[in-house]
């Protein structure tokens, strides 16, 4: 019984982890079709923003929930204005440019903080389930992740900005002909995606620690999750995170964590062979 409870909790944590890593990319790539190769570095910057500001005396929760999203959101806004804005619709150029940004950010952060692992120990201690235990902080991540996606759904479905953003991403030219300034909508959406990525980076930093090169560990999983999800960014990313996370957990418990990672990647390849449009290309098509 305890074993089952711990597996279920571990599953929720794994799924939340994937969904958090992919959330910002779901906005930037899923919605805006910008292939952001610097997504991993945005996560890394979020981690550093939280750790550095916490060490400077800021309350840990404020460092994670306020400082990190603001810092990375601002970095995203500046990069959108200087680079991304000029490349909308030019996929290869965007890939090259964001790859350059990625390398530049890694270099910059290495110069400032050195190529060593920084970390903070996860707060809140652990929850005992019979003979097993799981970190309370990790469970909190699952709750925050659910709140983040719920909030995103409400924003897109219920607010005027959400409606205008959805319309603009579907047909930029027509949105402009109706009086919407598409440049502004894109800038705000990109900055929001960066801010969400910063928050996610800060939230996983106490578990994974940060090094300047840690982005590489996240970026592939983030892209796989968003692409496997398909066109509906919220239902899609959540359903693919659930599917891939379950496979990962199952193999990790049955064999080893490394095999869990391998199984996740193999599952994504099979999934995209069977459903080239992602999960929401076939199921939950009317969702968001």
């Amino acid at each position: 019984m305890d074993y089952i409870v711990i597996i279920v909790l571990q599953l929720a944590v794994t799924v939340a982890n994937l969904a958090l890593i992919a959330a910002g990319l779901a906005i930037v790539f899923g919605m805006m079709r910008v292939i952001n190769f610097a997504h991993g570095e945005f996560l890394m910057l979020g981690g550093y923003a939280a750790i550095v500001s916490h060490r400077a005396g800021v309350n840990l929760w404020i460092a994670m929930f306020v400082v990190a999203p603001l810092v990375v959101g601002a970095v995203g806004a500046v990069l959108e204005r200087l680079v991304i804005r000029r490349l909308y619709g030019r996929m290869i150029d965007t890939m090259l440019a964001t790859w350059g940004i990625s390398l530049a950010l890694i270099g910059l952060v290495t110069v400032v903080f050195g190529n060593t692992v920084s970390g903070i120990s996860p707060p809140l201690g652990s929850l005992e389930v019979g003979r097993y235990a799981i970190g309370r902080y990790e469970l909190l991540l699952a709750v925050v992740c659910a709140a983040l996606y719920g909030g995103g759904w409400l924003l897109l479905r219920r607010t005027s900005f959400g409606l205008i953003a959805r319309g603009t991403m579907q047909n930029r030219t027509m949105a402009a002909a109706l009086g919407v300034d598409p440049g502004r909508v894109y800038a705000v959406t990109f900055a929001a995606g960066a801010a969400v990525t910063g928050l996610a980076g800060a939230l996983i930093a106490p578990i994974a620690g940060v090094v300047p090169t840690i982005g590489a560990a996240y970026i592939a999983k983030a892209f796989i999750t968003v692409i496997s999800g398909g066109a509906a960014i919220i239902a899609g990313t959540l359903s693919s995170a659930t599917l891939l996370g379950s496979i990962n957990t199952a193999f990790a418990f049955a064999f080893s964590p490394v095999l869990g990672e391998v199984a996740l990647l193999a599952a994504a390849v099979i999934l995209l062979r069977l459903l080239p449009q992602g999960i929401t290309g076939r199921f939950f098509r009317k969702s968001l």
């Binding site: 409606l163 959805r166 319309g167 579907q170 402009a176 109706l178």
Partner: protein
Amino acid sequence: MSLLAASGIEAGYGQMRVLTDVRFEVEEGEFLGILGHNGMGKSTLLKALCGEIPLTRGAIAFADRDVGKLAVHARARAGIGYVPQGRQIFPALTVRENMLMAALGSGRPATVADRVLAKFPRLQPIVDRAGGVLSGGEQQILALARCLCGEPKLLLLDEPTEGVQPSIRDEISDTLLRLRRDFGLTLLLVEQNIQFMQSLADRVLHMEKGRVSAGHDEAAGALAF
């Protein structure tokens, strides 16, 4: 008084010039038609007027204001409504959301969309249907309704009967006449269907090889075939 005046405008795509020295005026409250075959530059003219392609020469005055260099969205907010060829309905938004997008996107309150919807009994039963699954005729009516949600003074219409059944064509022309009355609109319609044009326009100009000229009977007769 003229609401829109194009004086010597030239525009095109890249190196290719499509419009040559186009001059005409649309009077306030007028329904002006521009007739021309495919490839004569009708759609390009409307794109130049709404700002989708830049002018290489000439000027556009709208409501006594020079709008020739304004961005697309700024011209829309100034009162130039554009219903493009192919309707360009947002496929994943519902009928209501398509209209709300136009109202909110141009800085109007959401109530404008409800007020416009009340004038379109045809759309009321399908407000929650996705734009992408509507028929061509329904999409055309929605494109008109959506445009009105931005409260334009001038409506630019690009071949509203293209790809629409003949029975719906009559409905569209009735709708246009009714809207003109109800909303006090000024309209500029480009078409190649002469019957449709004649049932609507107060005055018809002709477009040939990127130039606009006053209509004459032979040209109209030739186009009827």
